[in-house]
């Protein structure tokens, strides 16, 4: 049977991808950020899963305003890195896992979550930057990736509570897949940031640190936090953090914290990163 061995969260700032692609990771501005992922790269080299279910948001790339799905799962064989206006990132094509993805879609829809099924889409920095942070610059990504896109662009996104409960449904779906697969669930985006208007640049370190603590220790209570608290306290784009609750809902109630990193700033954003062991 498939099993979820670990959960990972990380921010997915596009400038981080540019720093990797342009060879700037050792520059004084970026070095402290990448230092926070050194442990993670070593860890994942010894814990490379068969499949990553990667929860992220599309940034007006695959989904325009024509169709805005709240939850969408990528069931394709492969996904090309998108041209977001700066040209395509020079990163490997993302290989999917259509059999597990289709199984998850069927199981989760039958658990009353209406996933949109996608058979063709490009993936943007929301998905590829986390892979770069954990795996560096390989010729091919070392495992399969199933994209799970969540709308956080057009307000309102799904509530934290619904995201957390989707995580539970995903766990039941994965654990009912017959093949013996090691699966990790990643939740990306955040932490506090605002990219628009005169309030751009907002960072709320106490909010972020409390979010990291509560995500690990009391996720069900954290999932009750209303949208207004995210956008007011963590910035209009900080609401991406609801996606971390999907990852957390897919793990056991108690998990072991393997690694934690928090850094300000990456461009406009507070970067948070966790590795949570789900095997105990």
């Amino acid at each position: 049977m498939a099993r979820i061995s670990a959960g990972i969260t990380t921010s997915h700032v596009p400038a981080i991808g540019a720093a990797v692609d342009l060879g700037k990771t050792a520059q004084p501005y970026w070095a402290p950020l990448f230092a926070g992922y050194e442990f993670s790269k070593r860890w994942i080299a010894g814990h490379t899963p068969d499949v990553i279910l990667l929860v992220y948001n599309d940034h007006a790339t695959a989904f325009s305003l024509d169709i805005v799905p709240t939850f969408a799962i990528g069931c394709a064989e492969r996904f090309q890195p998108a041209d977001e206006g700066w040209g395509r990132r020079p990163v490997p094509v993302v290989e999917g896992h259509p059999e597990l993805a289709a199984h998850i879609a069927q199981s989760v829809i039958q658990q009353d979550f209406d996933l949109t099924v996608i058979h063709r889409m490009d993936v943007d920095h929301g998905l590829t930057v986390p892979l770069s942070l954990l795996f560096g610059q390989p010729a091919a990504w070392p495992c399969r990736v199933i994209p799970l896109a969540v709308n956080v662009v057009l307000y309102p996104p799904p509530s934290g509570r619904r995201c957390y409960e989707l995580g539970h449904a995903l766990r039941r779906a994965i654990e009912s897949f017959d093949e013996d697969l090691d699966v990790q669930v990643w939740g990306t985006g955040g932490m506090s940031h605002q990219l628009q208007g005169p309030r751009a640049g907002l960072i709320n370190q106490p909010f972020d640190r409390a979010f990291l603590d509560r995500l690990i220790r009391e996720p069900a209570a954290l999932a009750q936090m209303p949208h207004i608290d995210y956008v007011r306290l963590a910035g209009s784009e900080g609401i991406e953090l609801v996606m971390w609750l999907i990852m957390r809902g897919a793990l056991h109630e108690r998990v072991r914290e393997v690694h934690r990193f928090y850094h300000v700033p990456a461009s406009n954003t507070a970067v948070g990163h966790l590795i949570l062991d789900n095997t105990e």
Binding site: L65, V153, L154, Y155, G201, V264, S267
Partner: protein, 131 residues
């Protein structure tokens, strides 16, 4: 009954809700077109002519020509769509964010390096009613 929009009380912030999305549909779809390299080239070669092919309001077109991102957002633009414009200009999110705050990019970068904009005094347009 009108929808509750408590986010109207966040200073310096426009939440991209269904009403804004309706207002900005054509502006944002113009931005999407800039994901094609050929369209970026055509836009830069003649911005006004390129914009005139889209059913946008005159105010939206002028805001694009002026690179007035706050105005574009007020008129229904969303920053992830508008990113196609500053990407076409070879600029970053940090450049655009600095522009929107009215700071120089150097001052903005300095603010971010010293921990970002503080939440203090930046959470409510009006002080919350403590009574």
């Amino acid at each position: 009954m009108a929808l509750d929009k408590p986010y109207a009380d966040i200073p310096g912030t426009v939440i991209f809700d269904a009403e804004q999305a309706r207002r900005g549909y054509h502006l944002n779809m113009f931005c999407m077109s800039l994901m094609q390299p050929e369209n970026r080239r055509r836009f830069l070669a003649g911005e006004r002519a390129y914009l005139d092919a889209w059913p946008m309001t005159e105010a939206q077109k002028q805001a694009v020509l002026d690179r007035d991102y706050n105005r574009m957002i007020a008129l229904g633009g969303n920053v992830y769509f508008l990113a196609r414009i500053f990407a076409t200009d070879g600029q970053s999110f940090q450049h655009a964010a600095a522009l929107m705050t009215g700071m120089t990019e150097a001052d903005y970068v300095k603010m971010m390096l010293s921990g970002g904009r503080s939440p203090e005094g930046n959470l409510y347009c009006t002080e919350p009613d403590r009574g």
